[in-house]
């Protein structure tokens, strides 16, 4: 044995290798999966009926697999050959179910402290207070679940599952019902918590946006089996792969080169043509340097006569109006942005209000999700 070797940190890896028949509206599927989840987020992605919740139930001990093995940190929770099946309440696996399942007769504070019975009263108080602060719900402590909002309930359910320091965490679509700002602040709090605790977090979703936002590792489940596993951009399908048939709908189609991938944001940067224009577009399964086509509808573009500030759109490109053309009640403006020409559709009123004309300096605003990506 090596002298002076640092003590090995306890492995918090979650290993799952199970089979289970499970019923579903279209008959029955066989869940048959084998994967490892390390500390951090692992996203289970798949359509409803793909077996995601059944899988979580098996890991939590709320459903029995037909056979296989489930282990966390090297300890078997379920092992069919060894006839081992640890009861759900002895597994120490945190589980936030889709319906949250807050106890209606208890306050938010009592809900959070519910699983702390094994600790002393002092310890219970300290731990509750810390987790309530970490999830910013201290002010809700004395309210019942029926008296707080959906986002707040989500926080209470997460805090309740985390406060007992589970060895792994299962989250079944915990963000499904939330608006985007609430989502990202909750994910932020969860990430901060996990930086200190480092446990595997299995995060179920059927929303591809969440997959890109959470990054890390993705497992794609379909019909009970794992069809892909890897980083989001490696395994996710192109969100909108446009076919040639759809090209006619786009007034602006550019050849583009992928310059950079931003997995954390679910976007990538593309260079248009050989010009200087760079667009932030939705992330697709592509490598840096690969070539594709970007389509933008003229009606999805905005024009501004001053450089806009405080705008959610990621792309604001300076340009000059080449010419204006009236088609019925639409004004089609041709705008040159450093060698790349955009067609922008405006109303007559907008042209008059902005006093647009040839040669006028403008800014073209392109929303990331107005950029449609096509294979070459």
């Amino acid at each position: 044995m090596a002298v002076n070797s640092a003590p090995q940190p306890i492995s918090s890896e979650l290993e799952v290798r199970i089979r289970k028949r499970f019923p579903n509206p279209e008959g029955s599927f066989n869940l048959n999966v084998h994967f490892r989840a390390l500390a951090g987020f692992t996203i289970l992605f798949g359509a409803s009926g793909a077996g995601k919740t059944t899988l979580l139930d098996c890991i939590a001990g709320l459903a029995d697999p037909d056979d296989g093995r489930i282990a966390v940190g090297g300890e078997d929770l379920y092992h069919s050959e060894r006839k081992r099946n640890v009861a759900a309440w002895k597994r120490r696996i945190g589980y936030v179910q889709q319906d949250l399942a807050l106890f209606p007769h208890l306050t938010a504070g009592e809900n959070v402290a519910y699983g702390l019975r094994m600790f002393s009263a002092v310890e219970q108080t300290t731990r509750s207070r810390e987790i309530l602060e970490a999830f910013r719900i201290t002010h809700l402590r004395d309210r019942r679940p029926s008296q707080i909002s959906g986002g707040e309930r989500q926080r209470v359910a997460l805090a309740r599952a985390l406060v007992a320091e589970p060895r792994a965490l299962l989250l079944d679509e915990p963000l499904a019902a939330l608006d985007r700002p609430t989502k990202s602040s909750l994910v932020g709090d969860l990430r901060r918590w996990n930086q200190q605790h480092r446990v595997p977090i299995l995060f179920v979703t059927h929303n591809s946006e969440e997959v890109f936002a959470l990054g890390d590792e993705v497992i794609v489940l379909d019909g009970g089996i794992i069809v892909a596993q890897g980083r989001p951009h490696e395994v996710m399908r192109v969100p909108r792969l446009e076919t040639v048939a759809n090209l006619s709908g786009f007034e602006n189609i550019f050849n583009a080169t992928v310059l950079a991938l931003h997995e954390d944001r679910g976007t990538m940067t593309c260079q248009l043509g050989s010009g200087k224009v760079e667009l932030e577009t939705p992330l697709v399964r592509a490598d840096v340097g690969s070539r594709l086509r970007v389509g933008v509808r003229a009606g999805d573009l905005l024009l501004a006569t001053e450089k806009p500030h405080g705008l959610s759109a990621r792309n604001v490109l300076p340009g000059t109006i080449q010419r204006l053309e009236q088609r019925d009640v639409i004004i089609a403006a041709r705008v040159d942005c450093g060698g790349t020409e955009f067609e922008v559709h405006l109303t007559l009123a907008a042209r008059d209000a902005l006093q647009l004309g040839s040669g006028k300096a403008v800014w073209v605003v392109v929303k990331t999700h107005s950029c449609h990506l096509m294979g070459m």
Binding site: L62, A87, R92, A101, F103, P104, H105, Y114, S146, A161
Partner: protein, 224 residues
């Protein structure tokens, strides 16, 4: 107005419904959560007193309590007298007679607790019994009150079983409904009327409490 019979009946009903809380909760727990395939037989047996003529039930209880049955002999060797025609015998008969009136509301309210709450409790490290005590029981308050009140009211008015098992011994087994019967038999209508009216009022009040309580959405919470 026979106050002796009245208080004897109230004492009987109170003892029986209190015992039924203790006996009925485990039975209802088992009926709610057991996955035994023959469970329906137990359910049917528990519900039997609802449809069985009280005299039939009383007859069998009398046989079971009598000195020819093992139970009766055992009790006799223990206490020196038989259970039949005693207050204790009356309690046993009434327990069986009112059992479904306690167990069914209990089981219905246990079964109405959202199973995902039980799953959540398990994943928070609580054993099934802890979960039952901390989640199921508090959320079943209405069912517990209903079961208690129904078995109380039901015992209050029982006649057939009492007559079969207890006979008609003043101060020991003569309950209020038997007293009314006696008074009618002796054409003492005004006294029978008073007692009957009292029983009517008490029963109505008890049932009003039950329905008044179950109207509130206790499952969601009395705080609303």
């Amino acid at each position: 107005m026979n106050w002796e019979a009245f208080w004897l009946t109230v004492r009987l009903a109170a003892i029986v419904s209190a015992l039924l809380i203790a006996i009925g909760i485990p039975i209802a727990y088992w009926l709610t959560y057991s996955r035994w395939r023959w469970k329906f037989l137990v359910e049917a047996a528990v519900a039997l007193p609802i449809v069985l003529p009280p005299t039939v039930l009383g007859f069998y209880v009398l046989l079971a309590l009598g000195s020819r049955s093992p139970l009766g002999r055992w009790w006799e060797s223990l206490t020196g007298h038989t259970l039949a025609f005693t207050f204790e015998g009356l309690v046993i008969g009434s327990l069986l007679y009112s059992l479904p009136f306690a167990v069914q509301p209990f089981a219905a309210s246990f079964g109405a607790v959202d199973p995902s709450l039980l799953r959540a409790s398990a994943s928070l490290g609580q054993s099934p019994l802890q979960t039952f005590r901390r989640i199921v029981l508090p959320l079943s308050k209405a069912g517990l009150v209903t079961g208690f009140a129904l078995s109380f009211a039901h015992t209050l008015g029982e006649f057939g079983v009492v007559l079969m098992v207890g006979g008609n011994i003043p101060g020991v087994t003569r309950t209020i409904s038997i007293d009314i019967y006696d008074q009618v038999q002796t054409a003492n209508y005004s006294s029978a009327n008073q007692t009957a009216l009292l029983l009517l009022i008490v029963s109505f009040v008890v049932l009003s409490i039950v329905y008044g309580m179950s109207r509130r959405p206790w499952a969601v919470g009395p705080w609303r």
